[in-house]
């Protein structure tokens, strides 16, 4: 579908894409268009934008098939680096997680862990797993977004990276107790993925976190 023909309202401006609200048939939809980045040379820019658009469209449908909550792909426009997907009514976890009542917060964190576990169990990894890429729907369910950097992988390295990125986004962008949050996420993750597999991911997550510069050997 040629998304440039749709009647679209600007909705949100992210780091790599612009989002627009529109209607496709009876559905309220979001068009995500990856914009040109002036800082990149055109050749590299095209490669990245088209690669990620295709990746994201594939991963969204694979994730959904695996039972992970995510928007449905309605249409893809590769020429325009755009994907039309179903609208998820809710709020970005990054901006609402801190304000939730404590019990609700725990439930959501656990549910986020479950979603990541389900994704990994299906042989997928997200690649950019942060609270900015999770929507908490009106009825309190986490939906995962932004699959542009995802891939098919059962490598503990990639699974550990997802968990590491999620944990760091919680410790740097939220006023939550990051120990408690991690525990809840891990419980949900283990529940979905099984203790044995989960512990492999956790081990690697710790190793990745310590890859940063100048960690003391303790």
């Amino acid at each position: 579908m040629d998304t440039t023909q749709l009647d679209m309202q600007p909705f949100h401006r992210g780091a790599e894409a612009d989002l627009f609200l529109t209607k496709i048939g009876p559905w309220k939809a979001v068009v995500k268009r990856r914009v040109r980045k002036k800082y990149r040379i055109p050749q590299l820019d095209q490669r990245i934008r088209s690669g990620r658009t295709i990746r994201e469209a594939n991963a969204l449908s694979d994730a959904k098939r695996a039972g992970v909550r995510a928007p449905s792909v309605l249409s893809v426009d590769i020429e325009d680096f755009a994907i039309a997907m179903s609208f998820v009514d809710g709020e970005i976890a990054r901006s609402c997680l801190d304000q939730l009542p404590r019990r609700e917060q725990s439930r959501v964190l656990y549910a986020i862990g479950q979603q990541v576990g389900a994704l990994h169990e299906a042989g997928l990894v997200h690649g950019d797993m942060t609270t900015s890429n999770i929507i908490i729907s009106r009825n309190g369910l986490p939906f995962m977004l932004d699959f542009g950097m995802s891939s098919h992988s059962s490598d503990p390295e990639d699974r550990g990276t997802d968990l590491h990125l999620l944990q760091r986004s919680i410790s740097t962008s939220h006023a939550l107790d990051s120990r408690r949050s991690e525990k809840l996420i891990r419980e949900g993750y283990s529940r979905e993925f099984g203790d044995r597999q989960a512990s492999i991911s956790f081990l690697r997550q710790r190793e990745i976190a310590r890859r940063g510069r100048y960690f003391a050997i303790r």
Binding site: E16, T161, R213, Y214, I217
Partner: protein
């Protein structure tokens, strides 16, 4: 030497440079430091004119870095501080980069991008500390440029050699692009770049491609961090901040999101004494004086462990 306003009075440097094709040997670098130490201190104290400068505080870089080299600096600092009966302050090398960059570019509360041989990090200041928002998961941007230069026999400093070689080409060769959230990873890029040279591709083409890919990766991570943190300023500090292509890219990112761009001046981007003096003076005013027995070196010292209560600057 730096005054209490952060104005640089003297900034004397002597850098160890290894022969072409060979990396830095810690002992040889330390030997160089011993050789030049006396002269550097003397020049720093003698100032520009005939008026001698008298310091109030002595600060030294306690880490992170090569142990043998850090110990020379620490020994020298202890000696001078004891001889002149002056307070001693220890400084984190990376914090020194940031403090001087902040002072010289008038940034107050930026998203800080520190790119050097020791660090490649995207930082935000929260509470009393710099937090890592994104960083390299393996080697730094400085490592990438230096190690590539070493392997391909380009003269040190690697960053400058790669930049001037890259200027001769406009041909993009395929290289791995690795961004993981706000993190980057350069080791695969280094291996692939060296391989391209060894299989007969012109060095200038490889330099051009490696720079474009590496800097685009970092620029993307910076852009994500900027959108997530909503900071209004972007600071670019560290030795690699001297690279004009990187500067253009990061400034584009800042401009695109309505943030002001604060690149450290080239003359203050690389490692220098003014960074340590600038940071030491700030630390001292926040009670950072230490005793001789506490004046150890810390070869592994993570930037987010350092207490930096003076930011945001008022």
């Amino acid at each position: 030497m730096v005054d209490t306003h952060g104005t640089i009075l003297t900034n004397v440097n002597s850098t160890y440079s290894p022969p072409v094709g060979i990396g830095i040997h810690p002992r040889k670098a330390a030997e160089h430091h011993v050789e030049v130490a006396g002269q550097v201190v003397q020049q720093a104290l003698s100032g520009s004119g005939d008026k001698k400068l008298v310091p109030d505080i002595i600060s030294y870089s306690a880490g992170p870095g090569l142990g043998p080299c850090l110990r020379i600096g620490a020994t020298l600092a202890r000696a001078v501080a004891t001889y002149l009966s002056l307070p001693l302050v220890q400084v984190h090398h990376g914090v020194g980069h940031l403090d001087l960059a902040m002072a010289s570019t008038k940034a107050r509360d930026p998203l800080a991008v520190l790119v050097s041989g020791g660090h490649t990090a995207i930082l935000v200041h929260v509470g009393r500390k710099w937090l890592f928002y994104g960083e390299t998961q393996d080697i730094t941007l400085g490592n990438l440029l230096d190690m590539f230069a070493r392997e391909t026999k380009l003269p040190a400093p690697g960053g400058r050699s790669v930049e001037s070689e890259a200027a001769k080409s406009k041909r993009l060769l395929p290289l791995p692009y690795t961004v993981k959230g706000n993190d980057v990873s350069f080791s695969g890029l280094l291996t692939a770049s060296i391989k391209l040279v060894k299989t007969g591709n012109p060095v200038s083409d490889v330099c051009y491609s490696m720079q474009e890919v590496a800097f685009s990766m970092l620029a993307e991570a910076v852009e994500r961090s900027l959108v997530q943190t909503q900071k209004r300023e972007v600071l670019l500090a560290g030795g690699v901040a001297a690279n004009s292509r990187l500067k253009v890219m990061i400034s584009e990112v800042a401009k695109d999101h309505g943030a002001s761009f604060h690149p450290v001046p080239i003359s203050l981007s690389g490692d220098c004494g003014a960074q340590i003096a600038c940071s030491g003076q700030l630390a001292y005013s926040y009670g950072g004086e230490i005793s001789i027995s506490e004046s150890i070196v810390v070869p592994r010292w993570r930037l987010d462990e350092v207490d930096v209560p003076w930011i945001p600057l008022s």
